[in-house]
Amino acid sequence: MSAAFIEEPSDEELPARRMLDQDWRKVFKYGLLLALVLVFVALTNMPVNLDRRMLIEPIFSMGYLSLFWLPAVFGLVVCREPVLAGMPSYAKGSREVLAGSLVGLIGGAGLSFLTLLLDNFNLREPLVNWSPQLLELLSFQRDTAFGIAIWLPIGLVLGTFGGLTHLLSATTRRVLSWAFVSVIAFAVFETVILDLSEGFAWLGAEWLVDELYFIRGGLTMHGAAVLAAAGSLSAAFGRDRAHRAKERFQALEGTSRTRANTIGLLALAAALVILPLFLGGITNELLANVGLFVLLALGLNIVVGLAGILDLGYVAFFAIGGYTAGILTTANRGESWPDWMPQFYWGTALVVVVILAALAGLFIGAPVIRMRGDYLAIVTLGFGEIIRLLFLSDWLGGYTGAAQGVTNIPGVQVFGLATVKGTDPRAVFYLVLFFCAIAVYVSWRLERSRLGRAWMAIREDESVAEAMGINTVNAKLMAFVVGAVLASFSGAILAAKVGSVFPNSFIILVSIVILVVVIVGGMGNIAGVIVGSVVLIGILGGPRQPGLLQEFSEYKLLIYGVLLIWMMLKRPEGLVPNVRRTRELHQDEYLQDAWLRGEIDTDSEPEDDSHSNGNTGVLPA
């Protein structure tokens, strides 16, 4: 992520600093921070919970991984400094290694101290995870003295390792990290790989998997060795080819570039259609869940990303879609409905869903869009809850089943060919894929339309947009309606997939998760929203949907929070930045730097493309 800061070393020999010429303050600050983070992670009980999950049998569990990666990362980060123009830069040497070791040592001491405290005091009252199991884990199932002693060398070694990475050449670093990442990835994503191997059994995948994995989970020792070797080999030999392919692609211009893009998109589409045939149930289920959230996030992206309306009650439309589809298609609806009401076909119900969702969008949108900023966010938050409480209330409970919800919702019949329901995740995925394709197309067209331009103008400056003759009320209502319809699709599919809807499926957390998906992926960016869904929903899991890392489901919200804070600090444009938005965010920074260096005055400006290569291209007016 921070590749931009690490410049390839230039040819000229840089001076190294003496080993003891340390920024002691920074070293201690990072060390103490590491100690705090380690103790915090230990007390979240993550290590104990994840200890059952073996990564490499029998030596290394995911519980230990949750602690071990931290000293290495802190040891690496403590000595990273951006190369500043006009400031002397230094070669990395023993100084960096020492700093890394010290940081690791202080962090290790934190865990030693925790081990000591765990043995002597019982703080279980406020700290529920203050348990003998944690003590056992921290002392590696031996006596406490061993635990206290061992964390110091462990921290030292891991921190030193982090510091040492500065000294490696770029190639070595790449080969090592690839070897490391392949082992960890194969170990962590074991469930999916096992699932995948079933589909590719005809390729001998099952034999391969049996060799790699231990019978009760975790990589075998020789499996890990093979993966490490494969990872490093692909890093050593594959990199140049990938690099060249990328350069070739970037060199393309005009129609050939468009053609390359089209071919890429077609290949992706084909893969999405064909691949699920080979995937097992777990992976297809994951993909279907990701798809549901892609639909939701694309809708919210129009409201928040394009029109700039911070809607915190977006789950309302998801709920309306789910309930409408559920009530219309089930035989088991609330008792207040007249008996003669037929059971509708899902496709017919969908028409009603769209109409109702659009009406709800208008109804909720009309009072809301007259507000701006914070007030708007607060009111939408309220509406999100109101809809859920209405479904739960006595007033509508006869129709919606109140707390019992709507159950026995049948699957979707597709031309009598297949029934799409939760027991067949592959079919659900195809249904979701179809609607995602529609949503992507609609978003893509809208972004480039007159309406899309009006939305962006409103997002930038509402009063001026109004002065340009844009009917801001209508445009904002349209954003609400389009967003509502996309969310209602997702709700209708959810109803058919799960077979039941409950008020609790539509809690406020869902709104927040969708918003986090949009922000993490990159606001106002279709590809970003999809990547955000894959990363958050696919890997970590949704509010009720398990992700790839099922073991982490307890810590999902913690990780969401950490991720969100880190993103806002380091990568505000999202994982897949919108080209326009990155330019703006980084150009601001760049302009500030240039101004501070005195290269710019009020009447001069940088060339547009200058930000990419740092500090050139400032032209006087």
């Binding site: 331009r453 962006m456 400056d461 109004e466 002065a467 003759g469 703006e584 302009l591 009447d603 940088p606």
Partner: protein, 244 residues
Amino acid sequence: MSGANGTAPLLEMRGVNTHYGAVHILKDVEFSIYPGELVCLLGGNASGKSTTLKTLLGMVVPTTGDVLLNGEIVTDESISYRVERGVTMVPENRRLFKRLSVKDNLELGAFLRSDRSAIDADLERIFEMFPRVKERLSQKAGTLSGGEQQMVAMGRALMSDPKVLLMDEPSMGLAPALVQTNFELIEQIHSQGVAIFVVEQNANMALSIADRGWVLQTGRVVLDDTAEALLANPHLRASYLGET
């Protein structure tokens, strides 16, 4: 140029009173702007200058009185109705859509027009007038220098093919050297036959290029004369030009 030659007024205010809540802002304001004129509105802080502009564009609805456009009463018509019929505002401090490209900004100026070929012709006309803008077309508007932003703001306003431009303090926030350029730009646009109604603090500069001027004081028009007469007016010189 002025109303003396018998043409009908382009934009007119008749007995307009405006309130913000209970506060009385504009008091019986009456004036007319004729096609192709350059008129400036002077006045101190809180004299109601910006409210006058907002009332003309339709962002503020008067309590009593009427706004007329081409002789038609448009008091209750929407902003887009007026923009379509030739009234456009250049907002205070330029207010570009900073994160959108210069091209997008210009296109948004022509939001209500659908005649693609005429829009493209107008784009070309603007590039001719401001060659700098053409160079910066794909750049984000917020990254331009102050002077260039002013050009884009005026270009954006011209893209709606206006008959009258309402300019709110165009020289505010510009370096002194740019203020001069800015007024040259205004004259350039004026020379193409667009009527301009400019609200300014810089009375000397504004009057030097204007045909006529009004002075607004606590919501009332207290002076209404040709620019030369106003420049010579000792009362005005004392209160706005800082001379005794």
